[in-house]
Amino acid sequence: MTKKPEKTEVGYADLNGADKDLLHTALNRGASRREAIKMMAATGLSVAAAGTIVTSAKDAIAATPKKGGSVKMCPSLHGPDDRLIPAQFTSTVDYTRGRAHYNGLTQLNDDITPRPELAEEFSPNANATEWTFKLRKDVTFHDGSKFTADDVMYTMAQHYGDDSVSVVKTLVSEVKEWKKVGPYEVKAILESPNSDLATLMGEKQFKIMKEGSAEAYNADGTLPPGTGPFTLEDFQPGVRSRHVRNENYWREGANFDEIEVFAITDPVARVNALLSDDVDMVAQVDPKAVKQVESTDGAEIKSTPSSAYFGMCMMLDRGPGQNADFVKGMKFLHRRDKVVKSILKGQGTVGNDHPINQAFGPDFCSELPVRPYDPDQAKFHLDKSGITSAEVNVAEVSPGITDVCLMWQRECSKIGFDLQVKKVPTDGYWGAVWMQTPINVVAWNMRPTATIQLDIAFAPDAPWNDTYWKNERFGQLLQMARSETDPAKRHEIQCEMQTLAHDGSGMIIPAHNNVVDGHGSDIMGIPSLPLGILGGCEWPEFAWKA
């Protein structure tokens, strides 16, 4: 619906002073959010972009946080398998609860740089093969017991060993061992250098548990105590959880008196709940509903550009994917801007068949040109490949992915290629379809660093290399990137990797989707960390109610 889609990535920061002042005065004058957006849109911005800007503007001018108020927050999924053990966190509802209940060693800023949390200091050695974390001494768990290095050792141990059921095992596979240096100091010894360990420690699965609490929980369901800003009042898997502000928190602490977390699985219902003001925050607003929310007073969209992406995997080791021309041809059949525009409704950025985008700032290879929509080239390559039909298995693993495939299908049929779209159920998809059938779809959340993002699904030895693209050079580059600390050099390495993936892998990434959430206009101060819903699930400690 916008005339200049290419400007969607303009952010608040990019506004010139004049525009900023204009906006601020308007908002201070008490202009409604919609008026403000209209105003910005008038300057030729897309509604979406204008929306994001106005939001950040409001945050910028938002006065000091207010204490009090109780809020309801609704992610999109929950079930009997809701967990309180960070090592097994898989869903946003877990992340959110974890964030309210626990702390990590480090914490991430909106630009995905680590800052101290339970570790008051952290530093790598020269070649980033050894990390030292100095822990805070004044922290107590909700049950009153003191937090020490033993708890860290205990928590980290969950991510190792054959019997470990940690879902992030592989992320920290290069850590050889954790050493307890003193009661308040631990050390991580790495096999290979990793300059991002501190950032990694800010991830949701690495929250610190009290020693032994996991076993107790598994045994008889005793709720594990955390150190976090909220204490857990009530927890019913698949129903809800209630958290009350932890009054003797070790730092300033949360603003809300109480938060309730429960999922509304139906996207329409979720949005309606926000619009009817029955809940204060909802995760994962369907792009199609963005307009509706924005045009309703009292409700707002929080859309954070991220590097999260969905794509179609053509597996290079089987089926048509073995034919290089087929893969090449298929990559030309995507109107990437149209995907962003009419399927993501502007809530995303154009993808370039590799997993990195602007959200990673300097690590993004902006000089690599976006692959064009070019049916002729596509036809040329496909004819050359001699393949005339194929089947893609789709599960709605990310909103809109099915529609993207339908669009793809139409483009194929226009050049006389018969692409069947086979919809399969989401449950069981990862085990039975993904990385099994020749062509399937995948969605990845944004990872803390570009290196991890590339490592996880493109590294030649990565267990989740979902197109079986084995590129030695890429592997070597990854090693270098991990230990490289100089931004300029790092950019070069990154750029080469992204180019390799762009050309070589069987992955089609038409777009990166923003993190799109909704919240009441009276909810302020939601961080903008793009690693997950509502500011990387960081909202509980920082958001507040006006």
Binding site: G79, P80, D81, S164, N218, G238
Partner: protein, 315 residues
Amino acid sequence: MGPMIFRRIVIGFITLWVVSVIVFFGLSILPGDAAAIQLGQAATEESLAALRAQLGLDRPAYIRYFTWLGGMATGDMGISNAGGATIASLIDFRLIKTLELGGIVAVISVPLSIFLGLAAAMYPGTWLDRILTFGTMSLVAVPEFLIATFLVLIFAVKLQWMPSIAYMSGGESLWEWLHALAMPILTLVIVVSAQMIRMTRAGILNVMNSPYIEMAILKGVARKRIILRHALFNAIGPIINVIALNLAYLVSGVVIVETIFAYSGLAKLMIDGVQTRDFPLVQACAMIFCGTYVLLLLTADIGAILSNPRLRKPK
């Protein structure tokens, strides 16, 4: 009647067992197991193996079935494969919720439907009848989720009279409770009443051709009494049966309403169970649903017997 009830109860248990077998095979043909679903995208060979071991999924299927069956026999429903909570702890809360919702819907819709059904049968061919027949038929033809969403948009989003979700933090007053449940109740009342009204009307009109109805007319009995005293008592059997089936639906079939209104009841739980391959959980729900079904139909039959002197007082 005593022996009949006993016989029916025995048969009921056979049915329960058959159901458990069906569910068992049903789940075993599904792709992926609890562990795979839980780890999802993040699964790796070893983490899968580890989790399977933790959940006891490494044992052969039939062993798991019989251990479950054994547990069931001793009233132990087992542990959830996803999450590790005891099935009992997952069920009881939701069972109450389900019964609350189903109960109140029944309390409203059953009398309502019978009343309207009778009204329609009392004045066949009149506008009242036409409107009711047509209206109910239309409602039967509209998808549940459309009705629900429609009501939400009108009453919750536009008018803001009622909450769009049936969420309760606990400790509500009766009024707050009703207010929170208003939308799902409304939806379900519409859905099930449409059915029951049609059936009541049909049931009554079915017996309306009997000679004894003609006799009543020839005795100068008034319309109202003919319907309420002469027809209803002979038509009640089938009507009760339809009601029973609808009540069973209120317990087991309301997954869509539960989803749309974020109401944590059993139906949704069972679907979750299927989607997470949580064998003990699904089995437990299946047992409850089948049990309710059998009981309700038994009650219906008893009701039919009580309402029919031929069966009640044999010659």
